[in-house]
Symmetry: C2
Subunit: 306 residues, 2 copies
């Protein structure tokens, strides 16, 4: 099945948003700019750099408008800097900042969605009329996150059929890509195979992404199963920045450098310079002030001894 | 290919030997007994508990004879407690302690073998006449480790054909199983596929084991490829105890609890109680006095919230 893996994979970097929103520390604006710069210098071309969310919800990202002004002032050719927008107000802020791509999110499980946005899944989908539709009308690209596909912190198991039905709705609504998320990092390979097979049957491969958390060490194993089924977009967070809000002290997002190490080792192209990505992981560690769980940046690319 | 994974897998636990020999701290004898007890209580049936090596080489294991007397006094039915024996002197110590299974080791790369045991690969194989042969004559089981199969810290790439030729020699010599080792944790899935395919062509599946290090986060991804090719023995070290002698501060052996979480999530039986294995990981952390890198013991088995 490795024979069916794609030759080239697209990495969607979430550390400045998903990473920082789950770190305890609030990072200075200048640190965030350094992180985004380091990510772009490593060759990343898709970076979700903030969330236009209320500062009362996520104080770590309260400087979203200032950060957007700084990073959007000079976006390199071929780079998309996107921002999460939870509602119409967020979309307005994104528009004002000149952001060209937004992301929206909902959960595959009712209880998680309710706890997260205080609405049912059906109501959340209906309210995307106020974000997805006007964003598309404004010429923006819209990406969708579907959380808790591999498991819910409140409900436990999640029905993969139901999850993929919601993913299809996001795609039909105009999301160019839906990122299926293992929000609590419980996924294992046979489950991943079932989810990915269903997703492939329902959506074009380019409309599909995997957003895996490494909370129980299984992220790369699940990603290999995705690769075997032809999935060609994966989300990552450099250094493994972010942690897990449901398991304090545990790992969250898969570390982008570990993912890129795996892909390059398989001969799969990413356009990323892994040495510079390791430097970006060191920037990430320095701005959050803690040792991050990603492994390649701690081990180095090789273990050669003189 | 996941369809071809085995229904049941055997775990060979190496934390009391490979783990402790690479930890900075020297653990008290009583701590080692507690660790072995916790591993057996979790349902592990194959535990390599020490190495009969010179204390000048590995002071952490200087109490091998005392430990052997304690743990061999009462070995539960169906359990094999094995010990690494680097030479004839080690074998004599193992015999005196009543050990019924030993392990021998050599490298797939000349430079690593030379640095490790100060002999060529050919000379090491020849000297196994003094350990493997008399151990078999004494009715012991003998397991072989083949190090640096995925890469050498001195030579870099290792020829998989040459590595498997050495594995075959170990098997022909009487090793019931050869554990192919990614000693420096550089392996990636396509490489693993090539190594495992060659190994399967040359050896019976039951004679094959994988000993993967998670130094760059790829251990479980490589193990999934092994499972897809029917490999049914994997080595692990609870908590990920051990570290990497070639990359200070980096991870070493794959954490047994992460491996078992993955296997159970795939519906593959191990005979292990994962909750008690997590308790063993906590024992491991307490005796070495540091936070170990295994993820499941940090995250918990589930992330359910009330």
């Amino acid at each position: 099945m490795l024979e069916q893996a794609p030759d080239v994979v697209s990495i969607y970097e979430v550390s400045p948003r998903d990473g920082l929103q789950n770190e305890g520390a609030t990072v200075a604006l200048s640190g965030k700019v350094r992180l985004v710069d380091a990510l772009l210098a490593a060759g990343l071309r898709r970076v979700e750099f903030t969330s236009f969310v209320s500062p009362r919800w996520i104080p770590q990202l309260a400087d979203a408008d200032q950060l957007a002004r700084l990073v959007m002032a000079e976006v390199p050719e071929g780079v998309s800097l996107s921002a999460l927008c939870p509602n119409r107000r967020g979309l307005e802020r994104a528009k004002n900042a000149g952001v060209r791509e937004i992301a929206v999110f909902l959960s595959a499980s009712e209880t998680h969605n309710k706890k997260n946005v205080n609405k049912s899944i059906a109501d959340t989908l209906a309210e995307f009329e106020e974000t997805v539709r006007p964003a598309l009308d404004h010429g923006m690209k819209v990406r969708g996150y579907l959380s808790t596909v591999w498991g819910c912190p409140y409900e436990g198991d999640v029905d993969p059929k139901r999850a993929i039905d919601i993913a299809v709705k996001l795609h039909e609504m105009g999301c160019y890509q839906v990122s299926l998320s293992d929000t609590i990092g419980v996924g294992t390979p046979r489950q991943t195979q079932e989810i990915v097979k269903r997703a492939k049957d329902a959506l074009p491969l380019d409309a599909l992404a995997m957003h895996m958390h490494d909370t129980r060490g299984t992220a790369l194993a699940n990603i290999v199963v995705g690769l075997e089924h032809g999935v060609r977009t994966f989300d990552g967070s450099v250094g493994g920045m972010g942690g897990c809000p449901y398991a304090p002290g545990a790992a969250g997002n898969v570390a982008t450098e570990d993912l890129v190490y795996l892909l390059h080792g398989m001969g799969i192209g990413t356009g990323i310079d892994l040495e510079r990505l390791v430097e970006a992981a060191r920037v990430a560690e320095s701005i959050v002030g803690r040792v991050l769980p990603g492994k390649v940046h701690a081990a180095g690319l090789r273990s050669l001894r003189a």
